[in-house]
């Protein structure tokens, strides 16, 4: 999904349909789901990839959430998307939010935080993506399922 190249190459990296299963029982308020992605730089950079290349900077450009079950967005107040890694020197970053969710929405386009510094989180390639869904009511039976689509702008050196 690379879009352009050059010195200090900038590439777009898009993830579609990343699935989040929020396992019940769920309580009114925030509930979290997490997923893992592995960014393969050789795949992102393509033919110009060289050993030793690394992600020096990353910015979230767009993010959206769609329902992945028949409940849709029923009783969902808000979504927050965060990124984290196992690197002990790097802190989790909130990167996008939708609050409040408009009534009747079938896809939620999140407001991204361009200042969120994601480069160090992405550096190791293995990234945890966390979706927080703020629920208005308890859900004692069953799970809630959502899909996240997002696009990152990666600077690769």
């Amino acid at each position: 999904m690379a879009s352009c190249s050059g010195p200090g190459e900038i590439h777009e990296y898009t993830v579609n349909d990343l699935e989040f299963n929020l396992e019940g029982p769920l309580f009114a308020g925030p509930n979290s789901g997490q997923a893992e992605i592995e960014i393969d730089l050789a795949d992102v950079v393509g033919g110009t990839y060289e050993e030793g290349m690394r992600i020096s900077d990353a910015t979230l450009k767009a993010a959206s959430v769609v329902p992945n079950d028949s409940m849709g967005f029923a009783e969902v107040n808000a979504f927050v998307v965060s990124f984290a890694s196992d690197n002990e020197d790097v802190s989790m970053q909130e990167a996008a939010v939708k609050n409040p969710l408009e009534e009747g929405e079938t896809a939620a386009t999140l407001n991204v935080a361009p200042e969120a510094e994601l480069g160090e989180i992405m550096e190791d390639g293995k990234v945890y993506v966390i979706l927080d869904a703020d629920l208005a009511e308890d859900f004692w039976e069953g799970n809630r399922n959502f899909k996240l689509n997002f696009t990152l702008e990666l600077t690769i050196k």
């Binding site: 029982p25 309580f27 308020g29 925030p30 979290s32 997490q34 107040n77 808000a78 927050v80 965060s82 984290a84 890694s85 196992d86 002990e88 020197d89 790097v90 802190s91 989790m92 909130e94 939010v97 609050n99 407001n111 991204v112 935080a113 361009p114 200042e115 969120a116 945890y128 966390i130 927080d132 703020d134 308890d138 004692w140």
Partner: protein
């Protein structure tokens, strides 16, 4: 008599098996004892701690005052990043990136105070299974403040 001895032997095997399983689980992620719902000393919020990867994070899951003066859900209005001031405070991850160091201690994390938008370095020391010393500091750990958090017991069934 033989039946009684057999029963005792089977019971012992089951008990030992359970113990081994518990010990194995604990040794896999000994830091998971931090997972649960905790209440700071002022009783104004409750924090749920989860593990993501090899780190521990705490989210606000309950606030004594969930709404602002206008009746709207409180948001993180003091966040230094203006783009994130609309993030709901209920659900906000105020403890981040704690790593279990052994000896009932989690460190390398940060504590966020939504009252002023400040982030502090943090260390968590578990006094016992239900009591934490949460220490926040800037720069030197010796100069900081410690708050005592108590574990909240969750009801196992929905109240009708």
């Amino acid at each position: 008599m033989l039946r009684k001895l057999t029963f005792l032997a089977v019971s012992a095997v089951i008990a030992f098996g359970t113990l081994s399983f518990d010990l194995q689980q604990e040794s896999e992620n000994p830091g998971d004892r931090l997972v649960g719902i905790w209440e700071p000393s002022n009783g104004r919020s409750r924090i749920k701690v989860d593990r993501i990867g090899n780190k521990y994070y705490g989210r606000v899951v309950w606030l004594i005052e969930p709404n602002d003066a206008d009746g709207n859900p409180r948001t993180d209005i003091n966040n230094p990043n203006p783009d994130l001031r609309n993030v709901p405070l209920r659900g906000f991850r105020m403890c981040k990136d704690f790593v279990y160091q052994g000896d009932d201690t989690w460190s390398e994390g940060t504590l966020y105070d939504p009252n002023n938008g400040s982030t502090y370095s943090g260390t968590i020391k578990m006094r016992d299974d239900n009591t934490l010393d949460m220490r926040g500091y800037i720069g030197v750990e010796a100069i900081g403040r410690t708050d005592v958090w108590k574990r909240l017991k969750m009801p196992s069934k929905k109240k009708k």
